[in-house]
Amino acid sequence: MEILFYIFSTLTLLCGALVVFNPFSRNPVTSAMFLVLTIICMSGLFVLLKAFFLAAVQILVYAGAVIVLFLFVIMLLNIKEEERQRFRKFGTFLGAAAVAGLAWILVTTVMNSRAGERSVANNAGETKPLGELLFTNYVLPFEIVSLLLLVAMVGCILLSKTPETEEETE
């Protein structure tokens, strides 16, 4: 089992790096496809943690829907321009800053916690315990997030809708 963890985590990191920093191609479609691979490897990690529900949802939602939409948008836009673009200084700086911030949080959390402390229940990734947690302990954050998504959705429709013309011909 341990060897699988190392394989999946190495692949996750490798594919994740290739999404943003691919020396062979600046093609956005390639980046998106590596993002799919990253997510599949991550769901492998979830399986190793016995969180089968999360693993399946990870693939279903991210690999199956979100990144398909990414591809959809990339294909509709003109990607030739993007391909010619080299690494931008500003973007690289911002990215590095974000990574450093996240790394700081991660390192301090790991340093401050002792082994075995605050470990999650063994079956927290299963369907039923997860559902129960979402509808009891975390019902408020859950509802707030769903409201946030609803707002984003309504906003999207409003922005993409062409201004109302006369009658719609049917």
Binding site: V29, F53, A56, V57, I59, L60, V68, L71, F72, M75
Partner: protein
Amino acid sequence: MTDWFTSLTPNEQFAIFSLLKIMIAVFTVVLPMVAYSVVAERRISALIQDRIGPNRVGPFGLLQPAADGLKFILKEDFTPAYARKVYFWLAPAVAMVPALLTLAVIPFGSQLGSQKAVIADLNVGILFTFGIVSLSVYGIVLAGYASNSKYPFLGGIRSSAQMISYEIAMGLSVVPVFMLVGDLNLSAVIDYQKSGAWLILKQPIAFVIFLVAAFAETNRLPFDMPEAESELVGGYHTEYSSMKFALFFLGEYAAMIAVSAMMVVLFLGGWTLPFAGLNETATSLGMGLLQVGIFIGKLLLFMGLFIWVRWMLPRFRYDQLMDIGWKRFVPLAIANIVVTAIYLYLTHGK
């Protein structure tokens, strides 16, 4: 032989049995079934259109798949100069694999000897199938993108929009089924149907939505926008030839088998029949094989339906397709969930 086998750990035995099940299921059942559903499609379409269809190769044209296969292998494998090579090679494989992977969690029988007749008895079976099915869109999208020309591109764009839309209707339509069953495991769904009525009787709306979404997900008529011949030449596989084209073609039939198998399990009681003790777990090998036969029989029923519908109905227009998906099926599926929830609350609620 048996000494060697019993000396293995349970884990190793499990691995060997799983491999055996995969080999038998894929190479002796699914792939021949794919090949022969192509023949069936051609013969049935001929019957419907008052033609004869392929009847020259072997008795009743039954060796036609061998001739077709040989033809596909011998044909020139042409790659357009302007295509994006890596994706052009990757796309046909990506189109074929998800359909075969889906079959891993389908319980195709009760018990064969001491082994459960399912390759992987996952406790999130249905989510696994939906996850894998949702990956099958990449084959088509990548094919459209890699071909780097107009018609395949339009086909790819259309399919990504269509498959995402209908995945939502499909996913929502099965939620009531699992609310009744109380488990995401597909074997549990069959156990539930063993004792009572099949779920097609309890959830007819869910079944209809799932069936229509299945047609859209497999790009079959009346929803075959991604490859609408009269407007897009061949759609996403216009630029493909030889074995690469064959993979798309066979992938479509493999996907049909996969969704048919899902429908049999979810709505038609899987390997059970409600008489002659056939809805009990098999105790003998013969009984187990008979139940596998029942499962395959029900599956062939759906395959026949797929083929029959293709030659009976005209193609939808693209805006109609999107309208019916988003404005009819999604609300209907959600209403079905709410009604089921209210029913369950009234009957079992506290």
